[in-house]
Symmetry: C2
Subunit: 205 residues, 2 copies
Amino acid sequence: MVNRRRRLTVKGMDDSPRGKLLSAAARLFRQRGFERTTVREIAAAAGIQSGSLFHHFASKEDILKAVMIEVIRYNTARMEATLAAAPDTRARLRALIACELESIVGDTREAMLVLVRCWESLSKERQAEVLALRRAYEELWLAVLREAAARSLVRVDPFVLRRLLAGMVSWSNTWFDPRGPTSFDQLVDTILGMCLREPVTGEST
Amino acid sequence: MVNRRRRLTVKGMDDSPRGKLLSAAARLFRQRGFERTTVREIAAAAGIQSGSLFHHFASKEDILKAVMIEVIRYNTARMEATLAAAPDTRARLRALIACELESIVGDTREAMLVLVRCWESLSKERQAEVLALRRAYEELWLAVLREAAARSLVRVDPFVLRRLLAGMVSWSNTWFDPRGPTSFDQLVDTILGMCLREPVTGEST
DNA sequence: TAGACTACCAAGCAAGCGCTTGGTATAGCA
DNA sequence: TGCTATACCAAGCGCTTGCTTGGTAGTCTA
């Protein structure tokens, strides 16, 4: 299902001049943080001079926003496709966890870290724009969690459970190593098991 | 037990000139981020001129490190005291969760957010110094989690469980409101219930 | 051919930053 | 009294930053 071996380029971050800038920016923002990444560095990483960069983006902050928007779009689409293929509520819940974890530790890791770590560097206006897009993604989550609660699959209130899950998955970027003792699927099942009313068979790690 | 109504000053951040600087810095770093907080702003918030600040700290980054060290010390001491008063393993696990949550959403909220959010702004050398101190705190966690696993109180491997818990608790700073529908104690019990092998009675939110 | 569009270059501006330097003032102690 | 330590002030240094400005070059279309 989800290809975890290859770190794919986020859609929208292709080989066009704009795409190259976004890719370079995502990587540098993740490595150095937004504030400590200069436009000269981004331009150099994309193979152009710094003044040229302002032909594509009005400001450094607009680059940050664009990185965030691209990764949200990509992962929302993936989540929708994956949900559509899940046969029941429990499978859909597992798919949510797996997709979000994949976005954080897999192919869109860099850009997702930018979303989480550079959020405060975005102005309130731009945050609002990004949040508007993020809302659709969050609705996917809440719809499935409400369904799971209605079927007594989970014990915790959907609002709270979503946030506890977001914490577990987001934090995994600080420690999860797919080559470590815990595999990706094991971690997904562990997290799922912590949410379900009854333990999952064979879920212990 | 834990006083959650009053936002206490972190020890070490008293009314001395140095303490006033640390308090001001913690607040500004949390509000603006490390990079976007200038030494002029910190000095002004503490009631002095910016040049004077370097009498107390060698660099801006040393201020950041000091904020982190103070909050780790304070919370480690609190955790130790709280654990000493817990009668059994389950109570100790609950105490860990409650203490960490209190540090994140309660009295040391500002400084804890600085620890989490400004971590990347610290040089590797200083990160190592802070981590050395943090290790004692993490050992408190792992000791209790190992005990819980040995008594079959929890299903998940202690190493993994600690990290999933860290995610849930850390992320709570983005959403938890003590005046909201979920109380502090309810949230503690919810998180605890997700860790235990058997559901906690009356734990649903 | 000329104009519009895309994409880039090079130079440099204005603002702001962490930190230094040379000083003053006060308190405590021998 | 003189020295030391603590704590502060004020001015300014050298450097960095995001962005502007004036330009060149290539492609496409009427």
